[in-house]
Every structure is written in structure tokens, then in C-alpha cells.
């Protein structure tokens, strides 16, 4: 573009300190937090670093008068359940906010129900309302493939996709859309919506965790709730995870959280029934191997059922 050279205020050899710019954006803090609080996910972290670098360089370029237009930042996160897609989306909105690519930096998390209406003429206002709410921030569409139901030709999902596409194109500087879902179904979704695929520049795949990473995640989760595993307990948990991973309905970090919730339940029960009535702080904090080994995974070789009921009851209580 010829306009660029006219607009360019600084000469070609004037310098700008990328390091100072990096410090000023406070982005390091967010990236470090990402490293600290998210175990594993190597490819994801690399991609986020790359994106952050691109945005930073882009900002510096803008200061030098080298404009290149707003980069398309719409993303797609694919991965199995419990691999941290929502958590990363939350961080992403923070990073984009710090770099000044979204004005407010809030995350609006929606699913099909929030976008698609029940009758003719209901979908457009509903989708638009969600989009308006997400303006200046990040719109996170969980399980985005449900938007498109090819088996039902009277489904209103297509209308919603159309409006989404239009806004993604026209209001590129106002909001960033992140789609998330399981890999195979997302691929199918993109296959039937080529317009969507071409408008999303960044496809990030979330790998499954290995057993050691899951144990590390468990320790991090427990530390958050002021619990810890005794050394023997940690070993038992490692065994539990390795066994659990081979079973059906394994949902990575989410399964870990549920397992820990049940272990807490058993720990409470053990302390309650136990003879030792004078408890120390350490007693209250520590999960012992028997809290974990009592799981049905060991006893019957199948995952605990009714786990959600327990979790829910706990959350309400």
C-alpha cells in the first residue's frame, strides 16, 4: 500500500525497544501464570506465546507507522473433555486485553441454547443479543458443532451461524470468537461450514494429559482447596489415575476433580468414624491412601457412578 509509506512517521533505522514494550504490556505476568497454573499442554502454550508475540510485534509496528490491518484473531480450540479449553479461553481474553486487542477483556461463554431460538424470527435477535454482550471481549462458544444440525433441515442453527459469520467479519476489532469442541466433531462442523473454517485463523489442538501431568494437576487442585496428598496417598493416586485412564468416560482434569471430591468425602468419613478425636490441622488437610484406594476403580474395576450427584450435593452444601 502506498499510503503506508506516506503515513510512516519514523525513518527506517529509528529504533524501538521491544523488551520495554513487552514489559509495559504486563504480558509476561499472564504468560508466567499460564505456565505455572496449567500443567502440560505444550503445543497450546507455544501457540499462545506465538500469538502474543505476533500481537506485540504488530503493536510495535503500528507505533512505527507500519499498519497491516487488524489481524483476525478468531480461534478454534479442539480437544477431549477436561483438557482445559475453557480455562485457556479465559486466559486468552486476558492476554488480548493486555495487548489492547479487545477493549474490555471479558469472556462471554455460551452454548447452542443461548444462540439458537425456538421459532422463526427468534434466532436473529437472540444471537445478536449475545454478540452485543460479547462486544469488546471474547465470545466463547462451547461445543460449537451443535450449532449445525444437518439431519434437521428446519433447524435454526444455520441462521445463527450466518449472523455469527457476518459479525466476525464486520466487527473484527470489536470482538474475538473462540469456538471449542471435540476434535472429530469440530472437523465435521467445519467441513459443512467452509465459511467458518476460512474465517478462523488459529486452530489449536489440546492434547490429552499423561498420568504424571494428571497427578500434578491433582496436587495443584488440592493446594487450591487447602488439602494435600500424603506421600503414600500420592502414590495411590498415581495408581488410581493410571487405572482410571483405561476405563470409559475418562475426562482428563474433570475426572481428576471428581475423584478428588470423592476422596475428600471419604477422608471426612474416615475422620468422623475414626477413634482419634483430637485432630490436628495436618489431619484435616491430608488425604491418605485409604481415601483413594476405597474407590470402585480398584474394587470393581469400573468408574464410580453417581459421582456427579455427590459433587452437586457438595457444591450446594
Amino acid at each position: 500500500m502506498s499510503k503506508q509509506s506516506e503515513k510512516q512517521t519514523s525513518s527506517d533505522d529509528s529504533q524501538i525497544d521491544l523488551d520495554a514494550e513487552f514489559r509495559k504490556s504486563n504480558i509476561k505476568e499472564v504468560l508466567d501464570k499460564l505456565d505455572r497454573e496449567l500443567i502440560g499442554l505444550k503445543p497450546v502454550k507455544t501457540r499462545i506465546r506465538e500469538t502474543a508475540a505476533l500481537l506485540l510485534v504488530d503493536r510495535v509496528r503500528k507505533q512505527m507507522g507500519l499498519s497491516a490491518g487488524a489481524p483476525s484473531l478468531h480461534m478454534c480450540f479442539t480437544g477431549n473433555p477436561g483438557t482445559g479449553k475453557t480455562t485457556v479461553a479465559l486466559r486468552m481474553s486476558e492476554i488480548l486485553h493486555r495487548l489492547g486487542y479487545v477493549r474490555e477483556g471479558h469472556l462471554v461463554s455460551v452454548t447452542r441454547d443461548d444462540l439458537v431460538g425456538q421459532y422463526i424470527g427468534h434466532t436473529a435477535p437472540k444471537t445478536k443479543e449475545v454478540l452485543k454482550k460479547a462486544m469488546g471481549g471474547v465470545l466463547f462458544i462451547d461445543e460449537a458443532y451443535y450449532l449445525y444440525k444437518p439431519e434437521n433441515e428446519r433447524d435454526y442453527g444455520a441462521e445463527s451461524i450466518e449472523i455469527l459469520l457476518q459479525t466476525m467479519e464486520n466487527n473484527r476489532e470489536d470482538l474475538v470468537v473462540i469456538l471449542a469442541g471435540y476434535k472429530d466433531r469440530m472437523d465435521k462442523f467445519f467441513h459443512s461450514n467452509p465459511g467458518m473454517r476460512s474465517r478462523i485463523a488459529h486452530h489449536i489442538d489440546f492434547p490429552d494429559y499423561d498420568a504424571d501431568e494428571l497427578v500434578a494437576i491433582a496436587k495443584l487442585m488440592l493446594a487450591d482447596q487447602n488439602y494435600r496428598l500424603s506421600p503414600a496417598g500420592e502414590e495411590a493416586f498415581g495408581k488410581y489415575i493410571r487405572l482410571r485412564m483405561t476405563m470409559e468416560h475418562f475426562a482428563n482434569a474433570r475426572s481428576v476433580r471428581n475423584a478428588l471430591d470423592r476422596a475428600r468425602l471419604r477422608q471426612a468419613n474416615r475422620l468422623f468414624i475414626g477413634t482419634k478425636k483430637a485432630l490436628t490441622k495436618t489431619d484435616l488437610m491430608t488425604l491418605e491412601p485409604e481415601d483413594i484406594l476405597a474407590s470402585r476403580v480398584f474394587l470393581e474395576g469400573k468408574p464410580d457412578s453417581g459421582s456427579t450427584a455427590i459433587t452437586e450435593a457438595k457444591e450446594q452444601g
Partner: protein, 144 residues
């Protein structure tokens, strides 16, 4: 209307100023959003000052964070009613009702004919006065 040289309708805030630009409207919207006020867009072609009930363009917008969405809606209203008065109202719910706290015109007809003074003779040579918008001589929808 003698003091109003531009012959512009003066209702709500900023109405003695030149028309607000989109950037200025955004800044005002931002202020309203910062205070947690809901924002509604209304239009009419009856500019009488006692006409408080303007038509709503879509639902009032709650829980927004950024003015871009509202500006999008204002522009779509302008496209639908290019020759109507369009105003933006911010509602404060602090008192348990959505009471208007800000209101300003964001779109006007190209030509505003203004108001005429109507005198009505009453009993004992008394005169009562009212104002009448020239535009409302025509039926609704054909006024501007």
C-alpha cells in the same frame, strides 16, 4: 424557535450542539455503561415535546460492556428510519424502576419544518396558546 437558528429540535441532552459524531456517541454510551445503566433506542416522527412515548427499536439492552454493540443497533435503526428522529435513552434502575437518566437525539430528518404557534380564543377574549408541528399535518410515516 427564534433563538434556535438551525431550526433544530431541541430535546434531551446536547441538542443545542451540532449533531454528535459516532465517536462522541460511543463516549456517551461508554459513560452510561460504566454506570451500569440499560440503554434503549427509540424513534418517532412526531416531534411535539409532549410526545414522550416514542417507538422502541428492539428491546432495551442490558448487561453490555462495550458501546460497539449499541452503535451497531443505532446504525441499523438509522438505516431503517433515515428520516425519523432517533434518540438513545439510558435507564437507571437504582430506585427499583428503570428511570431515564440520559437521553439524546442521534438522528434527525433532513428538513425540520419546526413548530407554529396556535392561538385559541376563549370566553371573555382570553387566548390560550399551543404549539403545533408543521410535520404532523401529514399522516404518520409520510411526515418527513
Amino acid at each position: 424557535m427564534m433563538t434556535n437558528t438551525g431550526n433544530l429540535l431541541t430535546q434531551g441532552q446536547f441538542s443545542f450542539l451540532p449533531p454528535l459524531t459516532d465517536k462522541q456517541i460511543s463516549a456517551q454510551l461508554k459513560y452510561a455503561l460504566k454506570n451500569g445503566w440499560a440503554i434503549g433506542i427509540e424513534y418517532t416522527d412526531d416531534p411535539h415535546p409532549r410526545n414522550t412515548y416514542w417507538e422502541m427499536f428492539g428491546n432495551p439492552m442490558f448487561d453490555l460492556k462495550d458501546p460497539a454493540g449499541i452503535l451497531m443497533e443505532i446504525n441499523s435503526c438509522r438505516k431503517t428510519f433515515p428520516n425519523h428522529y432517533i434518540r438513545v435513552t439510558a435507564f437507571n434502575s437504582l430506585r427499583g424502576v428503570e428511570s431515564p437518566t440520559m437521553s439524546y437525539i442521534v438522528n434527525r430528518p433532513k428538513k425540520e419544518p419546526g413548530f407554529g404557534l396556535v392561538r385559541q380564543e376563549g370566553a371573555g377574549r382570553s387566548v390560550s396558546y399551543s404549539i403545533h408541528s408543521y410535520a404532523t399535518d401529514k399522516p404518520e410515516g409520510e411526515r418527513y
